[in-house]
């Protein structure tokens, strides 16, 4: 008796390379969000305890003066975004 092996073939809408790319990024996002949400369980900080957190240099955004940095980097580099600035468009940049 001859045993034949059947291999399961996945039918993908996107090319295999893009599937891997998106899967890789999704895993990174899930890990990061899980980490932040787990950290949220420690966030029992009262308003009067936020003096250090409220310091202007503790803000979770770039400084206004950094706008020039983000601008020239968007022209000279191939990537942009995820920093509160431009993600593309609005200029002859990348």
């Amino acid at each position: 008796m001859i045993m034949t092996k059947f291999t399961r073939q996945k039918i993908s809408i996107l090319p295999i390379k893009q599937n891997f790319m998106i899967k890789n990024v999704v895993i990174k996002i899930v890990v990061a969000v899980t980490g932040i949400l787990m950290a949220a369980s420690c966030a029992n900080v009262k308003a009067y305890q936020k003096s250090r957190l409220n310091d202007s240099e503790m803000a979770l955004s770039g400084r206004k003066i950094e706008k020039t940095d983000a601008n020239f980097q968007s022209y000279r580099e191939g990537s942009s975004g995820a920093n509160g600035g431009k993600t593309g468009g609005g200029c002859g940049c990348n």
Binding site: K28, A43, E57
Partner: protein, 418 residues
């Protein structure tokens, strides 16, 4: 008996007074206030760079650029009758740049090397402090000689009960790229008659005929470029000294995504205008973590992973360390490292084949690493500098180098008036 009766009456009156001060729960965070000027910000910067891989000349040649940039924004705030805080920010920016390689848009090097860009903007935000949510909308416009852009966005954020905040933003830019080709590559037939008539043909085959002294500058055809993005972020206070955030942008672009004056030289020595796909999908994901170390030092860190469907993968990591010399004066050295892989469509000078479908020699799409270091000085005394309206002064200097031999320096000043 009389004393007992009077004491009872007195106690009863005291009880009444104890409740007379009770008022209904305050359902608004702010008292109504008309729109008032709250803050004015002015940022000026001077940027210079040099390199040897200009995309105008096919990936070789000078990349010398200088840029003087000035941006002003004015913020008004007010509170409506329902206790919601409204913030209106009007901005205006002017950049003037010179670019040595722009001269070679013309084969003879006779093209203009400078230009200016203006970019006004208007933003409106309304915050409900009771429901802890904020809505906002913005309008943007940008205009320079070869590029016009109109943009708009909508945003929403909501604070959680556990010191967190979700934000979402939808953004769109509708751009027009003026099709200024290198002089030897202007498409279609150019005809000059005794009357001075000239005919231009666009990439779509549309023709524009000019004559009788009309200034051809204003009638060069343009091609559209559209960018649509969704941005999502979540920020969280972790403890009394530590907070972090994560941001994801999903970006789609379509239309003319190259620049018409960028040349590509093939292995045969012939040249063409760079040709890039008419769509692009980008996915950057970034994270920030800020920590207050001791009483005088802050650690501001940032990491970004980026991927797109043009083959570029990049990683960015930066660390800035503000040191508070006094509570109102800090010096912050910083370092940023960046590395990217090359786009599928990039090749250096005379490396593309004429049979390639898409091709560019713009080194912004090549494989390289870069380092950017400098320092930021911040002065913000509580009564303002020299007891004036100048609330904050910042000075920032940075030196940037790429492994492509591009080098740049930037110095910026920021003034905040309150």
């Amino acid at each position: 008996m009389k004393k007992l009766f009077l004491t009872t009456i007195g106690l009863y009156l005291l009880l009444l007074n104890a409740f007379s001060q009770k008022s209904s729960a305050d359902s608004t965070g702010y008292a109504p206030k008309p729109l008032n000027l709250e803050e004015v910000n002015l940022v000026s910067s001077y940027y210079t760079q040099n390199g040897d891989h200009s995309p105008v000349t096919g990936g070789i040649g000078t990349e010398k650029v200088t840029d003087l940039s000035n941006g002003l924004d004015v913020k008004f705030t007010g509170v409506d009758l329902k206790g919601r805080k409204h913030t209106i920010t009007a901005g205006f920016g002017v950049d003037h740049h010179t670019s040595a390689s722009s001269a070679f848009v013309s084969k003879t090097g006779a093209s203009q090397t400078g230009g200016s860009r203006i970019y006004p903007s208007l933003n409106w935000e309304v915050e409900n402090p009771v429901k802890k949510r904020t809505f906002g909308a913005g309008l943007y416009y940008s205009s320079e000689y070869n590029y016009q852009s109109f943009g708009l966005d909508l945003e929403y954020s909501k604070k959680t009960k556990t010191n967190g905040e979700f934000s979402a933003k939808a953004n769109a830019y509708f751009d027009q790229v003026k099709m200024i080709y290198p002089s030897e590559l202007i498409p279609g037939t150019t005809t000059t008659t005794d009357g001075g008539t000239t005919t231009y043909t666009t990439a779509s085959g549309r023709t524009v005929t000019l004559g009788g002294g009309e200034d051809k500058k204003y009638n060069i055809p343009s091609s559209p470029r559209t960018t649509v993005s969704g941005s999502f972020s979540f920020a969280q206070i972790i403890n009394k000294r530590l907070q972090g955030s994560i941001s994801v942008d999903v970006v789609g672009q379509s239309g003319y995504l190259g620049l018409p004056f960028h040349r590509v030289y093939f292995t045969t020595g012939t040249d063409a205008v760079e040709n890039l796909p008419s769509s692009r999908f980008k996915l950057p994901i970034g994270a920030r973590l800020n920590y207050f170390l001791g009483d005088k030092v802050i650690l501001r860190s940032y990491y970004r992973y980026y991927v797109d469907d043009w083959g570029i993968r990049s990683q960015t990591a930066s660390l800035e360390v503000p040191v508070k010399i006094t509570p109102f004066f800090s010096i912050a050295p910083f370092y940023r490292y960046y590395t990217q892989t090359a786009s599928t469509y990039f090749a250096p000078f005379e490396q593309h084949k004429e049979t390639d479908t898409y091709y560019t020699s713009n080194y912004a799409y090549s494989a390289f690493s870069s380092g950017y270091f400098g320092f930021n000085v911040r002065i913000a005394p509580p009564k303002g500098l020299f007891n004036s309206y100048l609330n904050t002064l910042e000075i920032r200097y940075g030196h940037y180098t790429q492994t492509t031999d591009l080098v740049s320096n930037v110095i910026a000043l920021a003034f905040t008036f309150k």
